[in-house]
């Protein structure tokens, strides 16, 4: 084979890889979008269970029109009968305008379109921090806080677990190894649960860390102090998330590494006299990474769902907290809107990890 042909083959292989990943990415993208659409539609169906959303809308229209009529001087002269008639007429008109006269199945697709384009309507009772009643603003305003907390937690968790798992798989059976195995059942409890304990210990009892929230009140003016204050408020939430995840992920990843380190090709590499680091990188980490990423994706999804209660416990001003407030105020528009956003976040997480997966696993094919 000539040098040229060899180079060609390499380019060809690279091209194939890119094509494969590209095709895979596109197919995954559409599948995930399809899943999001179904998910959001189910959300709408659930939210409207028993015509709940319709009832809220209808009573709102009725109330608004009743007030309108009673305030309008030109209707002052009307008798009660006439007034009632007028009200019915206006209500019917308004319901028609909003499409409430059509059967639900038709309207549900309208809702779906609105939801998917994040045209989430107006909140009934809640306002955003800037005073807007638009659901989109209420939710998007809180998104950075959620991303900050859970993004940091994902990354910390991933790399810390990977590091310790590799270390322990080298020292299999050691004291620390046994400690991690013994501690792995801690993951049976979710993060908020440890959060409560941490708040009891560090905030209520010792009083050295804040109970919750994202930043001191009033927020410090200068950016450095602001960042420090946020960091201080993040210690307990991050710790709580870590306790609930890290031991199990170290344990299961270490087990994977151990399983793969007994493979024949690893023995072979050892016999060849490769350095332990090279073996780890090339022969152990590489084939286990896809499984690890999958596990990580599932854990990440679980954490997204947990955010609602986690942020409530820590009073963290993210979308989970908005969701909880919306429940308390029965604000349907916000509840549905937040669910839609969750579906998007989830899809984005899975999509990102899918692409990573495709890059690290040469066997990945579509379907």
């Amino acid at each position: 084979m000539t040098v040229d042909a060899q180079a060609d083959a390499v380019t060809q292989a690279r091209y194939d890889t890119l094509k494969r990943i590209g095709k895979y990415t596109i197919v995954r993208f559409f599948m995930l979008m399809f899943a999001v659409i179904i998910g959001v539609y189910i959300t709408i169906l659930v939210a409207n269970m028993g015509g709940y959303v319709d009832d809220i809308l209808r009573s709102e229209i009725r109330e608004r029109i009743a007030i309108q009529i009673s305030l309008d001087p030109q209707y002052k002269e009307l008798s009660t009968e006439e007034r009632k008639e007028l009200q019915e007429k206006l209500v019917a008109l308004e319901e028609k305008r909003l499409g409430l006269d059509k059967p639900f199945i038709v309207r549900s697709f309208g809702y779906l379109k609105n939801a998917l384009t994040l045209n989430l309507g107006r909140a009934q009772n809640m306002t955003s921090d800037s005073g807007s009643r638009q659901v989109k603003l209420i939710i998007l305003e809180r998104l950075p806080a959620t991303l900050l907390l859970f993004g940091t937690s994902f990354l910390l968790n991933f790399f810390v677990s990977l590091f310790f798992a590799l270390m322990l798989s080298r020292r299999y059976g050691s004291f620390w190894d046994r400690v991690v195995v013994a501690l792995s059942p801690t993951s049976a409890a979710p993060g908020w649960f440890y959060g409560i304990f941490l708040i009891v210990i560090f905030a209520a009892w010792l009083g050295i860390l804040p109970y919750g929230g994202m930043v001191d009140a009033p927020p410090p003016e200068d950016p450095l102090h602001y960042a420090l204050s946020v960091a201080e408020h993040m210690i307990l939430p991050l710790l709580a998330l870590a306790i609930s995840q890290i031991f199990l992920s170290i344990y299961s990843w270490r087990t994977f590494f151990l399983i793969y380190s007994t493979e024949d090709y690893v023995e072979m590499a050892k016999a060849k006299g490769l350095s332990p680091r090279a073996i780890e990188r090339r022969y152990i980490l590489r084939p286990t990474l896809p499984t690890i990423v999958t596990n990580f994706a599932l854990a990440a999804i679980a954490v997204w769902f947990g955010a609602i209660i986690f942020e409530t416990v820590f009073n963290w001003p993210g979308i989970g907290r908005v969701y909880f407030q919306a429940i308390g105020l029965f604000d349907t528009a916000v509840i549905v809107g937040t669910t839609v956003l969750y579906a998007y976040l989830l899809a984005a997480t899975v999509f990102l990890l899918d692409i990573v997966y495709a890059f690290i696993d040469p066997r990945v094919k579509i379907g």
Partner: protein, 445 residues
């Protein structure tokens, strides 16, 4: 899966501990269900003041005194209607007037003041109600008049909220009545106190009974909540509820998931790909938000939530891993043999495929139980707990809503949390050990 594998459990101390705790929890559940029948427990839990008025409000369990240098008082209750030993003096003054005097005597040894003092009167009369005078005698011989008033047929006298008395004494009555007058700090004077309740009845048939409660600052085995409820009841009933929810959800979803995976793999083709697609979509559904919406809009009943949890849990991610295993099994010789002798699809799936996967199913099922227990608790902590049954999550929610952590009522949060932790850890410990036993690749790791 055989007996030898089960016997292997004894080699894992964590599994033994887990198993012991599970047995304890199951025993506790059975005891609870038998000793405190559901109806009775629910009626009591939701009974309100009538049931719980004798308990102090929001106080820690009695055993905290073991760890305190300053002992907290327990409640002191005198009820003339039920307690015959209380000293009662009846002196007829003339044909209509009668003087009735109850004398309550008690030793006060705690280092803190009681929470409050309330007297509950009941009386019988035709027209004119008895007139009551209260006299408080301290160990150092002081005698304090703490109220003269006429009562009704049912009358509650809250000594602690008597502003006039508070002004006279120079502080909250429940503190000043017990305070040592010779001490700079406010500390209780220990010794024998006497409360004399003298009543003047104006009719020959007229009489009265009184229940005096000097509310302590500790109560029972688990303390009380903001509605004076004994937390023991809630903690006990939380056990069967949590176990039933976790077990039912885990067992039903695991079994259905497995059967679906087996069916899909066995028939292959469009059945298989349909199941795969549904699984992928199902994995994307925001489960907790949907559950919350069901709770908010539809029903908060535990059984409805359980149904939805199962519905959303059937097509779970584990279908993928079961599928991979069934794929291997499908090609196994004994399956081919079964096919050859003409076994039907159903028979192969139920008799040959599914049983082979059981060893893998059991550990994951056991590990799944606590996750459902915590799911129920999560919903309850969000305020979406079952409206009727007491659950651990609901107790945590009550505590959070009433600012237990800010007020230092840690026991209120820690007790249900401890029960949750016990449940979670025991199943996880057992499950992880079973995983190592049944999963040959993990053997010895």
């Amino acid at each position: 899966m055989n007996l030898r594998q089960f016997r292997e459990i004894t080699r894992y101390p964590s599994a033994i501990i887990g198993l012991i705790i599970i047995i304890f929890l199951v025993g506790l559940s059975i005891y609870t269900v038998i000793a405190l029948p559901y109806e009775e427990a629910v009626n009591k839990w939701r009974g309100g003041d009538r049931v719980w008025q004798d308990n102090p409000r929001g106080v820690p369990p009695t055993w905290v005194n073991l760890f305190r240098s300053k002992k907290l008082p327990e409640s002191i209750i005198f009820d003339t209607a039920t307690d015959e030993t209380i000293q009662k003096q009846v002196t007829p003054l003339d044909e209509n007037l009668t003087d009735i005097v109850y004398t309550f005597q008690f030793d006060y040894t705690a280092d803190e003041f009681p929470q409050e003092i309330i007297l509950f009167f009941t009386s019988t009369f035709e027209k004119k109600a008895p007139y009551i005078s209260l006299l408080w005698k301290t160990p150092d011989g002081r005698e304090i008049n703490i109220g003269d008033f006429s009562i009704e047929r049912a009358y509650t006298r809250r000594i602690s909220q008597d502003d006039k008395l508070a002004k006279e004494l120079g502080g909250p009555p429940e503190v000043m009545l017990f305070a040592d007058p010779n001490s700079e700090e406010r500390i209780p004077l220990k010794g024998t106190y006497t409360l004399e309740i003298a009543g003047l009845a104006f009719e020959p048939e007229s009489t009265f009974n009184v229940k005096s409660i000097i509310y302590g600052k500790v109560f029972g085995l688990a303390g009380t909540d903001h509605l004076r409820r004994d937390l023991v009841l809630g903690l006990l009933w939380g056990t069967p509820v949590a176990l039933a929810f976790g077990l039912l959800a885990a067992v039903i979803t695991s079994l259905l998931t497995m059967f679906i995976a087996a069916t899909g793999t066995w028939f292959g083709g469009w059945v298989d790909s349909l199941i795969q697609r549904i699984t992928e979509i199902n994995m994307m559904l925001p489960v907790l938000p949907i559950l919350i919406m069901v709770g908010v809009f539809y029903s908060r009943s535990l059984w409805v939530i359980l149904g939805v949890v199962i519905l959303l849990g059937i097509f779970s991610a584990s279908i993928k891993s079961y599928r991979a295993m069934f794929m291997q099994e499908r090609e196994a010789g004994y399956i081919q043999a079964a096919k050859a002798y003409g076994a039907g699809d159903v028979r192969i799936i139920f008799r040959y495929l599914v049983p082979r996967i059981f060893p893998v199913l059991i550990p994951s099922l056991v590990v799944l139980i606590p996750s459902y227990v915590f799911l129920e608790a999560s919903l309850a902590v969000l305020g979406l707990g079952d409206p009727i049954m007491p659950t651990w999550g609901k107790i945590i929610n009550d505590a959070r809503v009433n600012g237990a952590l800010l007020k230092g009522q840690y026991y209120w949060v820690l007790e249900p949390s401890f029960m949750l932790m016990l449940t979670g850890f025991s199943f996880a410990m057992l499950g992880f050990a079973l995983d190592r036993i049944f999963n040959p690749r993990l053997r010895g790791m």
